[in-house]
């Protein structure tokens, strides 16, 4: 271990805040075990009870029509594409019934930026769901919120307030990709800017809506841009405290315009560990078994993660990029126990519902 890396890790373990330069140096280091060990110590300090949580949830992707056409995405279709779809309400309700029957507590409704769907569509959908079902609606990432604001001509705050009174409980952290202009111009030029993403989250937090934050790494971004992404999230979290968890995903290249190769296992674990070390004010770090597989997701519990994410009774976006990892609740519980942690089912706000 070089003195530089050891020094940065020691500072992080002692609770000192790391800079973009520190984070970049850690990401560039090959000392995987040292990074994991430090992140594990920080996780232990933040979550001394040794619990690893998960949520029973379902993704509902109401439409794949999207005008953004991001180059890293394999999910979107043009409106006239034969594979374009918009789910009707009966189907959405049926999916929610199935979710509740499976013990689900969270719905992640997300979709493309469909030019034909305005704010009223979303408000009515939320009201109809809440009239029928008792379930937490963790839905609509910032690009969708901005899409609703633009199509309705209303300010963001008003859109979020209306969604909230119609039944929206919290926001997922999608659409963050890498929160750096240079990267966004290349991989998602039609998507909202990083400042807009931040503004949606800050406004949501001010309204009392909790959110998660994500990062899609392993495409064209530099290591310094990854570290900058983390620092930008940390700055907002200092102001609002509204992020419950951070979820890094690696870019899945199959069927995308961007193409290339996927981030390696070592890169995933290093990025996850550095996120735990940098995001000293974000309580939870979530593994992504859907992109990494159950084996690597479990190993990530030794690299600073404390949450296994959702059971995802349905997932379409990663699957469109050719990755089909599946896992049952039993297997999640087994993986967590096998790693020496206590498995617990949680709700969206990270309150424990059941300890296994």
């Amino acid at each position: 271990m070089s003195g530089g890396i050891a020094g940065i890790l020691t500072r992080a373990v002692q609770g000192e805040r790391l800079s973009v330069e520190d984070g970049t140096a850690l990401l560039a280091s090959s000392d995987l075990l040292a990074l994991g060990r430090a992140a594990g110590l920080v996780r232990q300090r933040m979550h001394p009870q040794g619990m690893v949580t998960f949520v029973i949830d379902r993704n509902i992707n109401y439409t794949n029509v999207c005008r953004c056409r991001c180059r890293f995405c394999a999910f979107y279709r043009d409106e006239k594409d034969p594979e374009a779809y918009v789910l009707d309400r009966a189907e959405i309700f049926r999916k929610i019934e199935e979710t509740l029957a499976a013990g689900g507590t969270q719905l992640l409704i997300q979709g493309g930026l469909h030019p034909g769907l305005g704010l009223d569509y979303y408000l009515e959908l939320l009201r109809l769901i809440k009239e029928r079902f008792a379930i937490h609606i963790h839905s609509f990432s910032p690009p969708e919120i901005v899409h609703m604001a633009r199509s309705s001509g209303l300010p963001l705050r008003e859109v979020l307030a209306e969604l909230r009174s119609a039944g929206l409980d919290s926001l997922p952290g999608g659409g963050a990709e890498i929160l750096v202009d240079r990267v966004r111009r290349q991989i998602s030029p039609a998507k909202i800017t990083w400042q807009e993403w931040m503004e949606v989250m800050e406004t949501a937090h001010e309204l009392g809506l909790k959110t998660t934050a994500t990062m899609v790494f392993g495409h064209i971004e530099t290591l310094a841009e990854r570290a900058l992404h983390l620092v930008r999230l940390r700055e907002l979290q200092d102001r609002t405290g509204g992020f419950t968890a951070f979820i890094p995903w690696s870019f899945q290249p199959a069927n995308t315009e961007l193409g290339g190769s996927a981030a390696t296992g070592v890169d995933y674990l290093k990025t996850l560990a550095v996120a735990r070390l940098m995001l000293d004010n974000v309580p939870h770090i979530q593994v992504s078994w859907v992109t990494q597989g159950a084996k690597l997701a479990q190993v990530a519990l030794s690299f600073g993660a404390d949450d296994f994410g959702g059971t995802m009774l349905e997932e379409n976006v990663v699957r469109a990029a050719g990755v089909t990892n599946r896992i049952t609740t039993d297997e999640i519980v087994h993986c967590i126990k096998d790693a020496g942690f206590t498995p617990a089912r949680r709700n969206t706000l990270y309150e424990t519902l059941e300890v296994y």
Binding site: L33, G36, G265, K295, V299, E331
Partner: protein, 367 residues
């Protein structure tokens, strides 16, 4: 930060490793039972560095499975078929030659051949196969036929194992792969492979091969009915034979895949990432007289295989090209990896890729 294993529940074992002391059965069992994944990895990584520096080996090879007809039909296996089954196959010598010929342009340095115990295939088939492979690809090392197949041939011809090995060697066989070892414990073999040769017999075939000057590999199939103590016994038996002969090149733990096997509905979970990494790391620590520990990406996936390079592993096997045995049991990995992908994986882990042949002669470095 302090050396991480000092704060772990295996710190005393760490001290033994540092002092260069051999680990005993109890140490092995405690390492397997510990959840302190990173400290165990750290110890294994130290030993790996001492033995192999920054080098990670891989091979450009082609696997050929010549038949899936097998009289053993082990419960652990999804590959074997009865003769006459609609999915039974046996490659003709011409078909094998065609496959070998097809890999000539891929610059393979090893042809790797294993198959079932097919009563219709006699020694002359194997001799001719080896001669043709050698003739077609004279530069490639032929690593073929597990101890189980060698023993079966010896039985079929009523010849001593040593003589069968000598005949095959004469025809071109260079090295034996490590398959068929499973777990040596008779209790386990009764459950997962009751008709397969015993652990003693497997070790005897390898000892005979070593005595003839052939280098061989060793494996362990884990993640089914075996106990942790049975895994450690297996490792210690390999270590004892290696003390006598020094003939083993590499140890390769194989994660059990239950799908499509008789054991599928016994409720086995797939092996976990912790289990895979710990097994590799504990193997590195127990097998102090083995030069190499290999993570076979076909069995545990390329992502975890790369991570395993920090857990005692110095070898990632190879390009493979075609693999039937693990895939029939539901392995979801690809059938091949390009040399460029292997090199990229190794470099992304901060290591130096070295292309080797079967016997760890360097084929290419500074790639």
């Amino acid at each position: 930060m302090k050396r991480p294993f000092k704060e772990s529940d295996v710190s005393d074992i760490g001290a033994k490793v540092l002092a260069g002391e051999r680990l005993n059965k109890e140490d092995g069992i405690r390492l397997f039972q510990s959840r302190d994944l990173l400290p165990i990895g750290y110890l294994a990584d130290m030993i790996r560095t001492v033995k192999n520096g920054n080098k990670v080996y891989f091979i450009v090879n082609r696997h050929i499975n010549h038949t899936n007809v097998c009289v053993n039909l082990c419960p652990l296996c999804a590959f074997g078929r009865e003769a006459g089954h609609r999915r039974a196959f046996t490659l003709s010598l011409d078909e094998i030659e065609t496959r070998v010929l097809a890999s000539r342009d891929e610059h393979v340095s090893e042809i790797h051949i294993v198959g079932g115990l097919n009563p219709d295939l006699k020694l002359d088939y194997y001799i001719e196969m080896l001669r043709r492979v050698r003739r077609t690809l004279p530069g490639a090392v032929i690593q073929a036929f597990t101890a189980v197949e060698i023993d079966y041939l010896a039985g079929a011809h009523n010849l001593p194992v040593r003589e069968v090995l000598a005949i095959l060697r004469e025809a071109g066989l260079d090295s034996l792969p490590g398959g068929g070892a499973e777990i040596f414990s008779p209790r386990v073999r009764r459950l997962i492979c009751p008709r397969k040769i015993s652990g003693e017999r497997w070790l005897a075939v390898h000892e005979a091969a070593h005595e003839l000057g052939m280098r061989t590999n060793a494996t362990m199939l884990y993640g089914h009915v075996e106990t942790v103590a049975e895994r450690v016994d297996h490792l210690i038996q390999l270590r004892e034979l290696q003390d006598r002969t020094g003939g083993f090149l590499t140890f390769i733990p194989l994660a059990f895949h239950a799908q499509n096997t008789v054991l599928e509905h016994e409720g086995f979970y797939p092996t976990t990432g912790y289990e895979d990494l710990k097994t590799l790391a504990v193997s590195r620590l127990m097998l102090d007289n083995f030069d190499h520990i290999k993570a076979f990406w076909i069995m545990i996936g390329p992502k975890l295989a790369q991570v395993a390079l920090s857990f005692g592993v110095d070898d990632l096997d190879g390009t493979v090209m075609e693999e039937k045995i693990a895939h029939d049991a539901g392995a979801k990995t690809g059938q091949y990896m390009t040399k460029a992908e292997l090199i990229n994986m190794i470099e992304a882990a901060g290591r130096v890729p070295v292309e080797r042949d079967t016997l760890y002669n360097v084929v290419g470095e500074g790639l």
